[in-house]
Symmetry: C2
Subunit: 470 residues, 2 copies
């Protein structure tokens, strides 16, 4: 069989890394559940037409074909062709429509699954990666305060990962109404295109954005400068006045369009919402959230708050948690379901924890106690000891070979198993669960009874912690 | 957008069913970890050539293509074409080879993931479904007693699901060496083909098997009768003598082949292993395991013990947990990795629990306490109560709208949330976390402090239990 190389863009972890991944996923799910979000798991596939109906990532879809489909089936399949989902929002929107009659709204769900995108892999960008999403979806209406909640819940989920070495996070927020009001105020009526251009600021720079606004939208120099100045604003509630001043100055330079009043109203609504979001987050989680008027988000279905999140000191990694408000998450003609959601890029976070050795794990197996085997005839005795420990919730294993005790201790040591149990005299009647247990880190060895002995709580399961002084 | 219909063969669960699925998966994983199995998660895709190199399910592979691949890329991709894995054994074997230098052997891993097969869906058979696998893989060698362990661990994992309504399970075991020795003893040298034919017994009946053995292998009538008689043997260690007697009678009817001694040795080795497996399982888990000489397993890479599992009273559902020993799970030319593993069909189990209402769940959301909102001005007060509860690990939510209390209680009732919290006077200073909490099932309402109040332990999280008298 050919030599095996990893597949670029499809990360897999070694067992000790997988323990970290499990803890991270559990912790995120726990935070979501504490806040009342119910778990949903959707199938990996969606009809291709549904995947293609939204946003710009659709070009990166993996499509599926059955290898042995007959010609007739292939033709039928072509019509109903399936692809792998590229995010968890499209499947969730479909799930809501499909089950609308059986769900209770507002419906709060979380969803933690892999997604697939056929992009060129690079650091922090994969072809298969885990997302952890929360969304709240309403039937017809959805109160604004939920736009505060999802940002805070995601912030708390990420903050809880500090225990595992994750650096401080900062959620950068903006408001789509504010942006639309602002752009229309300064005469840029094609808001979607303006957003797409401004969203490329980090990639193509101020000159690139200016050129694109000029060439593709015929923007005036004053409007261009206003856009660039807006994108530089960052901070607390004080930015609201700065936005207002900027809009006023720029509007004075533009010819009248007749749209001024509507645009102004939208701008003020956006400023009001952004202010509420900033104030409420500051009250409930000081320092977590900051306004960043450059946040545009590529997808154009957002209609209110938008979020991106950086790891402080690791800004080059890009956003690790993004989302926003959309007035029509799903719609079936008769009913419209507005939503607000946010998505944690779990694989991006994990890959940074591993690449920079920010996290440490105590062992590579669940096992806390390895029960030694004196000789093969005594294996049943050792197995009974292990079963007695397991029955009390202590992960235990039995050495696979009755080698010398030194070799059995090495077996534990190589896996980081902290305790080795030496069974007592196996010639006594079966069920004799008295022996000795050795902490192979300290060398301490004591008499112990498998029906009562307890390891220290910290040793029962592998422990995952921030690496000391990375 | 078109009306949405479920996709046949891709089951999805409603939120309360998903809670059951989560508990089932957690319980299985917990049992595996108590027995020292380390978690591994592999990517969903494998190179097509690897998927096609093993066994008979390979015809049902879903292949992937990037929708927008350029022509050059498409040609390159063709060579390295990817497909979705159809089990967890093929990816694990590849993972072992890829990471052999970084793993410690024998390596015990568990893996719980969806797999995909493009089969025609039917009851209990899906196109996307979850498997929960354990395997132990050795470097060059693997002691027989691990063939006992994996059966017992899987049996314990399934037995632990009785709490959630799963009927009693019975693991049916056979031995590939025994079968090979038996068939060769009675002159059927093409063992793989014989196994494939006998494996179809339930599907095509005794007459069908007899005809196939006669036509495809030229089997004598005595040999055919011996095969059919073997397949009827079922029970405890007493079947070993019955097999031996059957082989002796049948051999007397066959012409000499010169293979008798080798075949006889193989038969005896298989009988010895099957006997050990039966005796050891009976000692450690009485009633769980039974010999069933009709168990053949379609895949022909098994070399020792083979397992299938039925739900007692639901035998028609087919096997819910299967596996066996293979002397070459993986091989890279230089090294060979023998393994033994077993796979629980989680989706098949869940679909039966749901279809027959065997399981019951107390609510559809994680939330234990819904904090009511007196008016929108008091929302911050209610949110502070919820945050105080969450900080002590109590899942809490805040009503999205400050409606009449009756409507807020209905909001809780529709979701099965047991407690509604009425905040105290919100005009007192912020941080006043005293209020009243009502158990909406009994109507009892008491004064409570959000920094100290505890729900009954059974109400903290949704509870999943066997449905009473299904």
């Amino acid at each position: 069989m050919a030599r095996i190389a990893p597949l670029s863009g499809f990360p897999e972890w070694l067992p000790e890394q997988r323990i970290v991944e499990q803890r991270v996923l559990e912790r995120i799910a726990h935070t979501f559940e504490l806040h009342g979000f119910a778990s949903v798991h959707t199938r990996a596939v969606e009809p291709l037409e549904r995947l293609l109906s939204k946003g710009e990532t659709s070009k990166e879809v993996y499509v599926l074909d059955r290898l042995q489909a007959t010609e007739g089936e292939a033709a039928a399949d072509q019509k109903d062709r399936l692809g792998l989902h590229f995010d968890l929002t499209v499947p969730f929107a479909r799930y809501v429509l499909e089950n609308a009659g059986k769900l209770t709204f507002p419906f709060k769900r979380y969803q933690i699954q892999p997604v697939w995108r056929g992009e060129r892999p690079q650091e922090g960008r994969f072809r298969e990666f885990w997302q952890a999403d929360i969304d709240v979806v309403g039937d017809g209406e959805l109160p604004f305060h939920l736009e505060v909640d999802v940002a805070l819940v995601a912030g708390r989920a990420l903050a809880a990962l500090a225990e595992f070495g994750l650096p401080e996070v900062r959620i950068l927020v903006n408001n789509r109404r504010l942006a639309e009001g602002f752009y229309r105020t300064i005469g840029l009526g094609d808001v979607a295109e303006t957003l797409r251009i401004v969203d490329k600021l980090a990639k193509i720079g101020a000159d690139g954005v200016a050129a694109a606004l000029r060439e593709r939208l015929g923007a005036s120099e004053a409007a261009i400068q206003a856009c660039l100045a807006l994108a530089e604003l960052r901070g607390g509630v004080e930015v609201l006045e700065q936005v207002r001043a900027l809009a006023q100055r720029a509007r004075a330079d533009e010819p009248a369009t007749g749209d001024e009043d509507a645009a102004q109203a939208l701008l003020e609504q956006g400023l009001g919402e952004l202010g509420s979001l900033l104030r409420e987050c500051e009250r409930r989680a000081p320092g977590l959230v900051q306004a960043d008027l450059s946040v545009a988000r590529g997808l154009d279905y957002y209609t209110g708050s938008v979020y991106e999140t950086v790891l402080v000191g690791h800004e080059g990694l890009g956003s690790i948690c993004s989302g926003g408000r959309y007035d029509a998450l799903a719609s079936d003609g008769g009913r419209t379901f507005p939503g607000v959601g946010i998505s944690i890029g779990v694989s991006r976070v994990l890959s940074r924890l591993f690449a920079q050795d920010l996290v440490s794990v105590s062992r590579s197996v669940p096992t806390a106690v390895l029960v030694a085997v004196t000789d093969e005839a005594g294996r049943a005795h050792s197995t009974a000891v292990a079963d007695a420990l397991r029955a009390r919730g202590i992960p235990a294993d039995v050495t696979p070979n009755a080698a010398k005790f030194g070799k059995q201790i090495r077996y534990a040591d190589r896996r980081g198993i902290p305790f080795v149990w030496f069974p007592g005299d196996s010639t006594t009647e079966a069920g004799d669960l008295i022996g000795q247990v050795k902490d192979i880190r300290s060398g301490e060895q004591v008499d112990a009874d498998a029906t009562t002995w307890e390891p220290p709580a910290a040793d029962r399961w592998p422990s995952v912690s921030a690496a000391s002084a990375g």
